[in-house]
Symmetry: none
Subunit: 238 residues, 4 copies
Amino acid sequence: MARAIRLRQVEPAAPVRRATTRGAGKPAASKPRDAAQTKLRILECATTEFADHGYAGARIESIVGAAGVNISLLYQYFESKEKLFIAVMEGAYGLVRASHHELDVRDQAPAQAMEALIRRTFRIFVEHPRIIGLLNSENVHRGRHILKSPYIRGLYTPLLEAIGGVLQRGVATGVFRRDVDPLDFFVSMNGIGYFYLSNRYTLGVILNREMMTAEALSHHEDHIVQVLLGYLRPAARK
Amino acid sequence: MARAIRLRQVEPAAPVRRATTRGAGKPAASKPRDAAQTKLRILECATTEFADHGYAGARIESIVGAAGVNISLLYQYFESKEKLFIAVMEGAYGLVRASHHELDVRDQAPAQAMEALIRRTFRIFVEHPRIIGLLNSENVHRGRHILKSPYIRGLYTPLLEAIGGVLQRGVATGVFRRDVDPLDFFVSMNGIGYFYLSNRYTLGVILNREMMTAEALSHHEDHIVQVLLGYLRPAARK
Amino acid sequence: MARAIRLRQVEPAAPVRRATTRGAGKPAASKPRDAAQTKLRILECATTEFADHGYAGARIESIVGAAGVNISLLYQYFESKEKLFIAVMEGAYGLVRASHHELDVRDQAPAQAMEALIRRTFRIFVEHPRIIGLLNSENVHRGRHILKSPYIRGLYTPLLEAIGGVLQRGVATGVFRRDVDPLDFFVSMNGIGYFYLSNRYTLGVILNREMMTAEALSHHEDHIVQVLLGYLRPAARK
Amino acid sequence: MARAIRLRQVEPAAPVRRATTRGAGKPAASKPRDAAQTKLRILECATTEFADHGYAGARIESIVGAAGVNISLLYQYFESKEKLFIAVMEGAYGLVRASHHELDVRDQAPAQAMEALIRRTFRIFVEHPRIIGLLNSENVHRGRHILKSPYIRGLYTPLLEAIGGVLQRGVATGVFRRDVDPLDFFVSMNGIGYFYLSNRYTLGVILNREMMTAEALSHHEDHIVQVLLGYLRPAARK
DNA sequence: CATGAATGAGGCTTCATTCAT
DNA sequence: TATGAATGAAGCCTCATTCAT
């Protein structure tokens, strides 16, 4: 049994020893001495590794193996495992931020707008599943990195503001109930989907269900919408 | 920087020289020598350690340090880190089961019954916060232990059945909407609270909120009830 | 892979919790509080363990497991692993000595006498296969125990004397060559059989042969006789 | 007394700061940094360690101590104790093969040829005494490694064929007896010398003889030749 | 006489990291 | 920029042995 418990599937990514047709003019697309690209590849592989195994479970060797680079290079670029992790986290949060930014719901009716926000929120997680693992890891470490990175703190502001705005408009037009706190709502909106994905393995077993088929995901997305819009309905008039 | 990133606070648990009737003449029964109790203490400390640091991040040394026992003893009782982890998981799931068992909602009106189930579900997490960390860990490892433990697999059946029953009664009496799938509902019911707790550190930063005060917890509990009962309300008649 | 490499087949020998029909008169043949017998059983199992795995590879736990006794008892009787090993060695050597003692070839013709000695020597090893392993172990440790045990030193004296006597008689009657040193002969006589048995596994593979069937053993015994008696033949007269 | 029983004489092998051209100005090339050589040094020290103490008794720490390298390096090169042992075994068998290879007896008269084979066989053991310990260890483990290594299995084929050929020629020319099985002969040929060396400590005590002086070894070598050639003499004609 | 609980020292192995080129 | 060699600290686990009853 050893220390294993890890489900490795490394596939060394073909060490890509650059086809040194040096001086041939072409910039050797595959893996030239292109620091930026190499660094990116490391970051990419590190993201997967940290997401899959958590901080403590992640292995530097696995990362460089997958990235097909020498281990010293990783240290040259990122200094330490922890700093690499922080870089990964910032990249991941950046993704979330970007996704939220491109969403403008100010022109839609409150219910549609809210539905769009809900679906988008879930879809971000589905499309970037590694974010789940990273957030878990971050919480295992009690948010110590998020605390260090000031720019991360404003991450969800746009979404929170969007929620606040839509809620207000919905209350004003009478389609939403009045007693909803945007922050609470934000939590519920993320929670139902997050939990579904983050706990997909245990839930899959407990519920005896396929969790990650396109169909199942789509079904759950609809369910979240129904729960939240259902909740938002104003109390029925007598 | 070494390998750290862990926030250790070992506190050797005061080698448990049982607070015997000191001064009564008896030479202070220096070490427990009570296998069952010792085993339990190890399990207890292991639960905390695994919950706090995940499987990979947990340290056997920390566990035995906290339990105040020799490391070999741990291996005598649990054989390996992985088996210890499984024992911990079974204990944790056992807690959940026990909590649900002692709740009988068959005599209550559907809305009250559902509210009781919802609150209880959240309270279990609040009262046993280590379960969150353990579940996370289990999901990092893709549910491999839960899969091995048939006893765990059937664990949630009673709760699922309870939910199903209450939903049916609510639909029958017209107080609940008709289109609710118990499994979906189960996910939402757990998800909102789980997410709140599991991501308390990142949420605390992002929302700039105290998450774990009694007040905040109570507030969130109420919120979950409102969301879910709000959702369950039948559509208003035209 | 771990540390294994051991081929255990413990079979705990049924811990034999003595059927405490105490006071029933009968001395409870199985495993009463009979120190001598218990001690013997430990010694017996230790012999097997040391022979099979060598000193370093032997496990106290395996010994007590096989003997069905508590580990502390072993320490009470034998004090330490090393002293137990010495006890085992003395027992084994005692066996050899006893075997040699009961052999009296003074009345036989030299060739028959020598054949008897040769066959007996090989048979001792075949019948007490554990001696091989023990001797190997002893040699790994550079004979340090044999050196400590003065009584062991005279162990082979009877055999050596027997060989010397038979050789003399054979030379005198002209059936043996004249230039044979008894000590050299002693080595050859033991060596061919010992090597066959001690290296049975590697030889089995290299020669692609069954080594330990009754037939193979008997064949090899005959071979030893032929080699040695062939060697002893005096040079042919011209 | 602890676990000892080992007669350690580690002698840190003087971290191998290669006796570079000191005083020539160059700063003394502090560490080898020659992978092949380092690996070889580890293998060399491992061979000694395994030969001296057997597999179970060998200590990784001792090996790296003697080799003057960091323990991790050993694992980088050999993965595990067992694989290191296999590498050692293959190296040892390789030695044997090489020694036999360089001997060509096809042009010699049968008796001389056989004598050459016999002497060479003994000399291999004498010159590479560690092979004895390794073979012992291998037999303690029931040949499990030899079984895994197909390359080892075919190792003795050349020698066996050489023996077969010489025997045939000797029979044809009437200088050897007819009833000799090459495999049996192979065993005897190895056995007498192997036993002498493998059991040198116990034999030394029992026979009260110096075993390892050049003189004693040479004497025993002659003895083996005499035994085997004596045995091979054809039966005297009536 | 016998036992189960407990321990310290050490064994194998892993892992993040640095060195030298 | 990139690499392979090398390292120290620690991690999991085992094993002979002792303690307390």
